[in-house]
């Protein structure tokens, strides 16, 4: 049983990004970069399956610039066995990433591919579903629990208003939601060990994939900011104010 985990390098969730004054995009400058939180959950789940003796190998893959290697090292330090960096300097849309991943899957033949449900930079929530479509595989999205059986995977999904359980044939795609697990911190010895783990380098062209964007970016703007209102001194004053606005009767 081999597991492939796709990860993305994103601006750390604690960093407040700035919109470039000329509207051409977002200035991430020297912002702290991290492994996308949902992908971190994906790596953790794969490593746990390996530790439980259910998986034999965990491979991590990422599409992005050279610095993505650091992100992959983080995943290796958490316990993944080896990494594949598909190097591309410019932004690759989810459809392009899914096409690259399809070729990686064809070469690697994993039984399960785990992805985060959403990257916290472009907030698209697409790549896992798109990869499933391109491969003709089932998809267990927004997973809060997975249960591996011989020939199928049971996935408890976060749904509107509750949880939904589905059974998927194998091989399959899983995308992670918050409650799937709590990722570990990599220990110092494991960080040192990760430096020696293999990391292959490829390009989209090596896989014959065209990753040219399909969306033209017209402009990027600051959001409209809400103005702070007034402070009230008591619950009764709050109720009076809310009644004045008509928000409550």
């Amino acid at each position: 049983m081999k597991i492939l985990v796709a990860v993305k390098r994103v601006v750390d969730f604690n960093v407040a990004i700035r919109v470039k004054p000329d509207g051409s995009g977002v200035d991430i400058g020297n912002a702290k970069m991290s492994l996308n939180p949902f992908d971190e959950i994906g790596v953790e789940e794969a490593v746990r399956l390996k530790e439980a003796g259910k998986a034999t190998e965990v491979v991590v893959v990422s599409v992005g610039p050279a610095q993505v290697q650091e992100t992959l090292r983080t995943a290796l330090a958490m316990g993944a066995d080896r990494a594949i960096l598909v190097k591309h300097e410019d932004y690759v849309e989810p459809l392009g990433v899914a096409k690259v991943l399809k070729e990686v899957v064809t070469a690697e033949k994993p039984d399960i591919v785990i992805l985060g449900k959403q990257a916290i930079d472009d907030d698209c929530n697409q790549t896992g579903q798109m990869l499933a479509a391109l491969l003709g595989w089932p998809q267990g999205t927004f997973a809060s629990k997975i249960d591996l059986e011989d020939s199928s995977l049971t996935v408890v999904r976060e749904a509107d208003g509750g949880l939904q359980t589905v059974r998927l044939s194998m091989p399959t795609i899983v995308t992670t939601d918050l409650r799937l697990n709590e990722p570990r911190y990599a220990s110092l010895p494991n960080i040192m060990k990760a430096k020696k783990k293999p990391c292959a380098e490829m390009t989209p062209a090596d896989y014959g994939v065209d990753v040219k964007p399909r969306l033209n970016l017209i402009k990027t703007e600051e959001p409209l900011r809400r103005q702070a209102g007034v402070k009230v001194s008591s619950v009764s004053e709050l109720v009076v104010k809310l009644k004045e606005t008509g928000a409550i009767r």
Binding site: Q118, Q126, A133, D160, K231, T245, A247
Partner: protein
């Protein structure tokens, strides 16, 4: 030009998310057809026929579609796609699940959770948890779009469209439904409630959410939570309001014990009125609140319940 809008429904009636996505679809221009794919869903199809501005309802009725699993849903939508320039669905949990699958099957880059429609090919959407707003032009011949439902008003029901039965395509047989645990509540649903009261880490325990529920009952409000409260295990994930949870825009949003991280603000900043109760006077939530009360929530909440 024709738009296919995928309805969100429970086989009996449409969910309001459909009405809101229709308002976005109407801004594209052109005829609008609605797909009601379900099982024993004649009532839902009839409901869709009443939507203002819809000229045709396509009704697919088959047992495998009783619940909208992504694999058969996407297969059925793709089978209809040739006749349409735009395929649109609300960015509900279901829409987020099957629409990117549809997009990839059609070799289209989806535009996710649009907050405005500028032209038939040009859309506005939030990135970085709402820190930035992007306008993008889709160059694919077909457009596949999910609609951020908090950004659009619900369409009305003054129509009388034709309902046409369509045959389902074969289920790809990759997935099956096992069961569900629905959080049953007598309170309104989070994304459609006029009033939402949410708790954060300051609530300290899941048990304390009962205090919020008591206030919610007085206001006929839905109860939500910040990611911190979900992470701490106080409440289930489907309570989560924010970047990676639900986006809401009620008439009144009351944030209790929520500091106001940008990821949370992304999910509620379009609310008409925001009230905040927090014991930290410097909490960022007060920078977006119309009315802020610096107080201990454990004293303020019972008082608020009594005052309503």
């Amino acid at each position: 030009m024709t738009v296919l809008l995928i309805a969100e429904h429970d086989n009996e009636s449409l969910k309001e998310a459909t009405h809101k996505a229709l308002s976005a679809a109407a801004k594209l221009g052109g005829d609008i057809h609605v797909l009601v794919a379900g099982y024993r869903a004649t009532a839902a199809a009839g409901h869709a026929a009443k939507l203002t501005g819809v000229t045709r309802v396509l009704h697919i009725d088959v047992a495998e579609l009783e619940r909208p699993l992504a694999e058969p849903m996407a297969a059925n939508i793709v089978a209809l796609a040739a006749d349409y320039d735009h395929i649109v669905a609300p960015a509900t949990n279901n829409g987020k699940n099957y629409m990117p699958r549809v997009a990839a099957m059609l070799d289209v880059m989806q535009v996710s959770e649009v907050s405005d429609v500028k032209a038939a090919d040009t859309f506005v959407r939030l990135i970085y948890a709402g820190y930035a707003v992007q306008t993008v032009q889709a160059t694919d011949a077909k457009k596949v779009i999910t609609v951020g439902i908090a950004s659009f008003p619900p369409a009305r029901e003054t129509g009388n469209a034709v309902v046409e039965r369509k045959e389902a395509v074969a289920d790809p047989g990759l997935s099956s439904y096992v069961g569900e645990t629905i959080s049953r509540s007598d309170l309104p649903e989070l994304t459609s409630a006029k009033v939402v009261i949410s708790g954060g880490r300051g609530m300290q325990s899941g048990d304390n959410f009962k205090m919020l529920e008591a206030v919610a009952r007085k206001l006929n409000a839905a109860v939500g939570a910040s990611r911190a409260a979900v992470d701490a295990g106080f409440v289930p994930n489907d309570y989560q309001v924010g970047q990676t949870g639900k986006v809401v825009a009620p008439d009144l949003y009351i944030a209790v014990g929520i500091s106001g991280a940008i990821q949370h603000l992304a999910g509620m900043k379009d609310s008409k009125i925001i009230a905040a109760i927090n014991n930290d006077q410097d909490a960022p939530i007060f920078q977006v609140a119309d009315f802020g009360l610096v107080a201990d929530l454990f004293e303020a909440l019972p008082e608020l319940e009594k005052a309503l």
